[in-house]
Amino acid sequence: MEYIIAIFIGLLYACGVYLVLRRSIVKVILGVFVLSNATNLIIFLSGGITRGGAAFIPEGAETVDPATISDPLPQALILTAIVISLGISAYILALKYRYFDVTGTHDLDQLKNTDQR
């Protein structure tokens, strides 16, 4: 299982990097989505890939045996990451929209000289 998941993450990274290296800005944005998803996945699986129960404390009990649940800490971190990447993605999209509206191009190579010359 480890092999398959590792290769899967590697594949996500490869696709993300390939997209990020494109000249079209839409593809770059897609690449950023893929990369952030893949990174979340690494963090999540760093807690071990043994399947555990949901990180709940059952009714009536005060604590829960950590061995029986999936690690709650990476989950909390990733939850934050997902929400932030949602915000940033929305912002990038809006920016991209505006940028295309102003410049009329989606080719990054034509963007390189805005601040000089």
């Binding site: 092999y3 290296l21 555990g52 129960g53 404390i57 800490l73 989950q75 929209y97 295309f100």
Partner: protein, 781 residues
Amino acid sequence: MDNLLSLLIALIFLAGFATPLIHKLAGKKTGLLLAIVPLSLFIVLLLELLQLAPRESALLQTSVSLLPGMDFAFRIDGLSLIFGLLISGIGTLVLLYAAFYMAKYERQAHFFTYLTLFMGAMIGLVFSDNLMVLFIFWEITSVTSFFLIGFDHHVDKSRQAALQALLITGFGGLCLLFAVILTGNITGTYVISELLQQSIHLGNHPQYYLILALIILGAITKSAQFPFHFWLPGAMQAPTPVSAYLHSATMVNAGVFLLMRIYPIMGGTMPWKYALMITGGITMFLGAFFSMGQRDFKRILAFTTISALGTMILLIGIDTTSSLKAALVFFIVHGLYKGGLFMIAGIIDKTTGTRDIYDLHGLGRQLPLTAAVTLLALVSMAGLPPMLGFLGKELIYEAKMQLPDVAWLVLPLSVGANIMMVAISITVYYELFFRRKNKAAITLKYRERELPFYFLAGPVLLAAAGLFLGISPAFLELPVGNGLFFMGALTGSIQLSLWHGFNEVLRLSIFTVLSGISVFMLRAPITRFIQKMVRWFDQWPLPTLFTQLINKYLTAAAKNTNLLQHGYHRFYLLTFFLAVIALMGLQIFRITEIDLPELAASPLKIHVALLLLVTAGAVIYAVFSSSRLSAILAMGVVGYGIALLYLYYGAIDLAITQFLAETVLMVLFVMVIYYLPAFAVLSSRKSRLRDGLISLGVGTFITLVVLKAKFLNLETPISEYFAARAYTEGHGRNIVNVILVDFRALDTMGEVTVLILAAAGVYSLFRFQIKTLKKKKQNKA
């Protein structure tokens, strides 16, 4: 008394910053008003000097501290008092002088601000008891002198000269900083008094040569020694009061001061001796030699300054008690006559409109006072009695004759330089003041009586001081003796007298004077010869070489920057990814051999594998799809696939969040995509292949890292802490939620802030759009 001194030093800076205000109130009298500050400092220093015992130094602690270990404390001993007296005394006269000289200049407020700050920095430099603080003042003098030299900034030459001076002295400043830090690291203190008290000598330390080289570089760049001498003749582009000040008591003398100050800590070794003797000797001779070939009075003086500084450096390098004594006395001598002579050059420039000595003649009758004062100053420069210059020169000869091994080389160089000094003194005086029958009298713009007294006060008082100290040099015994004591000389008291018997030294002096007179007699061929030499020398013009070097450096830097900062987004990323693969990959292989986990670590789950397969297919499809909409939908499939994976591994909250976020994002994307252009293949096949290879490399590398980490099974995850306390302390049963809103609430707060900012950004970006659309519609209508 002591507090008064600290206050006065602070007051100079205060006055400097307040100068624009003073100028508004006082107008043309600014210089006169400002002169009060250095004058009072001068008086206080004089009183301080009277209190000083031969082997005593005083330390003024102030409560001001830059950083721990970098306190502003002022050290008062013979050395700093001599320098301080000259700086404040000549500073007073220069301010008075400038009040008239600069009267018709624009931006006088600027001028006096720079000049006063420069003065303050120089005072701070000589009195500071901390090497770091000394360095800071050293740099302030470089910066303020940059503004002063380039004061006529509409003239191209001035700007160039200023830049040159700044770059050279700035380079020296960096060397000094480096040396100071190294010294501080070795000795554990930057405080000069402690260094002197502990009598630490760095001579045996392995880094000694490095420190010494850096210190000497710092000193000789500041003091305009060969081969860095060329910035000083250039610096005469500054208004004359500035030149008078830079040359006589400040700036170039800072290098001499530095060497004297650190002499007990690192002086007296063989490399010290030879480095200083060679640089000083060459500079001394070349400066005096080339001064004869110049026509411009200020330029002649600039070259004699270079020569005089060479003499001082040489004397410090000779390193005997008598040579250090000679150096210290000669600093006073030089300050007094050079300050006066520059001011006279300014007076002649003002009255006649030219500084070319060969265009002038017969001024003796028209400017009698100036002629008399010039005579005294030039007598001092030539080293003739009864001026202090005679004493200085005698001491120098005496020191050099006592030199054990290299007297045969140093002495002829020194005598040669002095012969040229005598000759140039006579030449200058003859050309300026003697009458020529076949030439018409020079018409003057001002007569001497029309000049205000404070304009003439400078040269008159300086010449008088030279004469007075020459006749009664006993007044110098105390400060010079004290200064020498703190330079490591055994005795704290010395005797100085103008007449010290008919001995070898005096015979040499007489020989010098006679030779000087004969050089003057034969000056026509000699001047021609020197001018030829100067031209020959100019085949390798150092200033031009220097400018070229700077320009080449700038071009290379620009090329380099253009190469690295090409502006192509994807090439930056390319560089980044390649570097990551190369460096981190190397590191992973280096630490341990690849040690992959057992394949059977956990059994293969068919449904999970299927999920991964579908997601992988979706992501590959998203990459290669030529339709925007299907690429986005495929991306949605990837997001949902990962959400399902979270769900399978028990992370319910994550799964829910991922579903929601992915949905919102899809909606947004689809909304925007309508306005975006269709996908187009922009890059060539070759670059796609290259990118593909690099992405595969990154993917493989990440896979290896993930496997290598074995999913990071740490020994004691801190999650147990959260699991145990989520209910008892956080009062919630969903541990993830409790972590988010309770244990790590600040993180969540940050997250909310990011969301709000993003929302504000999105809103404003769209709002703009609406406005422009409305405008467009209006335009159409």
